[in-house]
């Protein structure tokens, strides 16, 4: 572990509101995307590396930035309205995990918005044009752009601030717009834009090509067979399957993500639902949202539509991923709909937890809860699921479904303090396109509010494991919690718990390969 200043936990479950410490997180921000990474995303590439590090801005960057801001405020009512109507009441000032963890006042949601609002006022409002000092309006300078780049990449777009704002002002809308403007003047973030390029080129964030993916899935089939004696299939590009599963590519081999993927496979197997992954759309994540680019987000989303058509599936199901589920639940129908070619009996798309909980309620899964008796669980609500989506028919289903499933497969479950769960949940500290090693200090500090809550239930109620339903949360926590004295194994996937408890009664997969010799199994008579 590299050396970072790690905040001290107070053990009370809820973090203290710190005094402001200006410029505590001043800096250069994450690595800048070079022109090669901007090109596939259709962003300008007429900027270049500078001697001694860094990059120039595009020519006429100021005019271009202002033109883009003007364009966006006419495309998004949210942006225009939120720049205008904030009264600076301060309700949001202590709600951001990055402010709480870093004490930098520019990480207070309203101050983060103000970075853009001050420029907006200067160029687009009467008061700012004529009385800039009075309303705190500023000229757009290179220093301002640097501040934008730094602090708009210290926002995980988790929307916790929008819950508490009396007008629902959503800082995510502003930080997304800021990143979109920055992308148009040569200030894209390498982490996000390189990944989106890989999605366009290869099909997933990890750049895992079809043969490697097929290999990985075969390996998983062998693992599950070795553990259970049953050939549970992990089908890839199988035309005519009922379900297209779209899941974050981290599920293919990161820990504990892959244990979740095994859980999905077992659930489909046991329920006799045929399913497939797509190598073309082998990624649930959609980083187009993080950079505020409707166009790129739509382009990424359309792959899923195309894959669904090509593979002739009847349903689309998403695996455990927070922002992917927001894009899927809230935006997919907008970006890539209408999905009138799918089975109208099912919502489009569905969350894997909706599938699993549905099957549990129908009594179609045999569960042995004692398999998870070595654990006392708590559950981390992922920000995008909690505040940007739903599961089931009723508001708040996104809180109930994961807990219902965990309680169905585990005997010991407790919730963290009320101010840190449901729609008050804290971001893991790595969401919104910040899950990169060049932002490690921010990620450690941003995790502090969640760590306070976890420590509290660990000490007070003997919690041993925290379950999550988001690839980013899982990656972030496994990396960051050791700094706070926890072990990375304490983070589990919800479907990993399902996988542990699920008793497989179906001996042969409904998708068993015809060329496979099933007779070499000792007890497995064909009941399919």
């Amino acid at each position: 572990m590299a050396d970072y200043e790690v905040p001290k936990l107070n053990g009370e479950g809820v973090i203290e509101i710190p005094k402001i410490k200006p410029d505590a997180m001043a800096g250069k921000g994450p690595y800048i995307a070079k022109p090669d990474f901007q090109k596939p995303l259709h962003f300008p590439t007429d900027f270049a590396a500078e001697e001694g590090g860094g990059y120039t801005l595009v020519p006429d960057w100021k005019e271009k930035a202002l033109a883009k801001m003007d364009d966006l405020r006419h495309r998004y009512r949210s942006l225009q309205l939120y720049l205008d109507i904030c009264v600076k009441c301060g309700a949001c000032t202590d709600k951001c995990h990055y402010y709480l963890g870093t004490h930098d006042p520019k990480n207070m949601p309203v101050a983060r918005q103000d970075l853009m609002r001050k420029v907006y006022r200067r160029y687009f409002t009467f008061a700012g044009k004529h009385f800039p000092k009075l309303v705190g309006a500023v000229d757009l300078t290179e220093e301002v752009i640097d501040d934008w780049y730094n602090y708009y990449h210290q926002c995980s777009q988790c929307r916790r601030c929008s819950v508490y704002c009396p007008y629902g002002i959503d800082t995510a809308e502003v930080s997304m717009a800021a990143r979109e403007i920055l992308d148009h003047i040569g200030r894209g973030s390498k982490y996000n834009n390189e990944i989106i390029g890989k999605v366009f080129k290869v099909g997933n964030n990890l750049g895992l090509p079809q043969p490697a993916l097929a290999d990985t899935l075969e390996g998983l089939e062998e693992d599950v067979e070795a553990a259970t004696g049953i050939k549970v299939r992990f089908p890839l590009d199988e035309e005519g399957a009922e379900v297209l599963l779209v899941t974050p590519s981290a599920d293919f081999f990161a820990e504990p993500h892959v244990d979740g993927l095994m859980g999905y496979a077992k659930v489909f197997h046991e329920a006799g639902i045929s399913w497939t992954l797509s190598s073309y759309a082998s990624e649930g994540a959609n980083f187009g949202m993080f950079i505020g680019s409707y166009e790129n987000m739509r382009r990424i989303a359309l792959r899923i539509r195309e894959a669904a058509i090509k593979l002739k599936v009847k349903r689309i199901v998403f695996g455990e991923c927070g922002h992917a589920w927001r894009v899927a639940y809230s935006f997919l129908n907008t970006l890539a709909g209408p999905f009138d070619f799918l089975d109208p009996k099912y919502p489009v798309p569905q969350h894997i937890l909706e599938v699993t909980w549905g099957l549990m309620q129908e009594g179609k899964l045999t569960l042995d809860k004692s398999k998870n008796d070595d654990k006392v669980l708590t559950f981390h609500d992922s920000c995008n699921v909690a505040r940007g989506s739903r599961m089931g028919d009723k508001p708040g289903g996104q809180f109930e479904y994961p807990r219902n499933v965990i309680k169905a497969v585990c005997n010991h479950f407790v919730d963290m303090p009320a101010d840190t769960i449901h729609d008050a949940t804290y971001c893991c500290g790595g969401g919104g396109g910040l899950l990169t090693d060049d932002l490690m200090e921010l990620r450690i500090k941003g995790a502090q509010p969640r760590m306070e809550a976890l420590k509290y239930v660990t000490e007070q109620q003997g919690v041993t494991h925290m379950a999550a339903i988001c690839a980013i949360c899982k990656s972030q926590f496994t990396k960051v919690i050791p700094y706070y004295g926890f072990k990375m194994e304490q983070i589990v996937s919800v479907h990993q718990l399902v996988s542990n408890a699920l008793v497989l009664t179906r001996q042969v997969s409904v998708q068993a390969r015809p060329d496979e010799d099933d007779d070499d199994e000792d007890d497995g008579d064909d009941d399919a």
Partner: protein
């Protein structure tokens, strides 16, 4: 008829025009801006009537603010609710006093204290809480100062140095029929009215637009039904219909914004 009365008459006609037309134009501007994505802060209502109820709780009880900060909520709630009573009481300058108006007169009268306490509390937070002080521009302090000055000058006339309110009523009812009547020669009244006119002038170009704006906030006014009903904005539909990926690939003769 004094020069001052005519000046104030013209002032209030102009202020009213700016307020009504300015706010109306802004609301029209906001309302016609595209909302390309479904972004309600969830859990959100799944029906339109649910949204009405959510908005009601938000604008009447300041529900979100209540969750955020009890002090800010208390002071803001005191100020806004008292302001309504005070405003209702002031309608007597524009219409005949019926049973309802006479019933609320005393409430409106003493609500002014509540209003001032609320404003003082908000100002105190702005000065004393380091986070709130950090985000405050001079205009944020001036806005509170303006409201406090309006409140104090009004209370002076109610509780200390009475003015001829029958004449005031005559003046404003006259303005409504484009007819000038004199104002009483009271310096406090003139200050009070001038400050109110200033407030009316700046309303459409200031953060006071939060009042109509909250009703148009997508995180609060959208129905949570994206899977059931396809939501698409005009400019996004244009991309779809022209089968293009990026906006700058759209044919030039198309309308730029949806």
């Amino acid at each position: 008829m004094t020069f001052v009365s005519i000046l104030y008459g013209l002032l209030f006609w102009a202020a009213t025009l700016v307020l009504v037309v300015g706010v109306g134009r802004k609301i029209y501007f906001y309302a016609t801006l595209p909302v390309p994505l479904k972004i309600p802060t969830t859990p959100a209502p799944v029906t339109q009537s649910g949204v009405v109820w959510r908005m009601f709780r938000e604008v009447v009880f300041f529900q979100s603010l209540f969750r955020a900060n009890k002090y800010t909520w208390l002071f803001a709630f005191m100020f806004h609710m008292a302001l309504w009573l005070v405003l209702l009481r002031h309608t007597r300058y524009f219409m005949e006093i019926g049973p309802f108006l006479s019933f609320i007169q005393p409430f409106g009268k003493y609500a002014s204290f509540v209003m001032l306490i609320g404003l003082a509390g908000l100002l105190g937070r702005r000065l004393l809480v380091d986070r709130v002080r950090y985000i405050s521009a001079p205009s944020d302090f001036l806005m509170l100062a303006l409201l406090i000055a309006i409140g104090l000058s009004g209370m002076m006339m109610t509780f200390v140095s009475h003015t001829d309110i029958t004449m005031v009523k005559g003046f404003f009812r006259g303005l409504m029929t484009f007819d000038f009547h004199p104002l009483p020669a009271s310096p406090i009244l003139l200050v009070h009215l001038l400050l109110v006119a200033i407030l009316m002038f700046i309303f459409p170009i200031s953060k006071l637009m939060h009042a109509p704006g909250v009703f148009l906030s997508p995180t609060r006014n959208q129905v949570d039904n994206p899977r059931e009903k396809r939501h698409i904005s005009a400019w996004a539909l244009e991309l779809e219909q022209q089968n293009k990926t990026y906006l700058d690939e759209l044919k030039q003769d198309e309308v730029k914004h949806g």
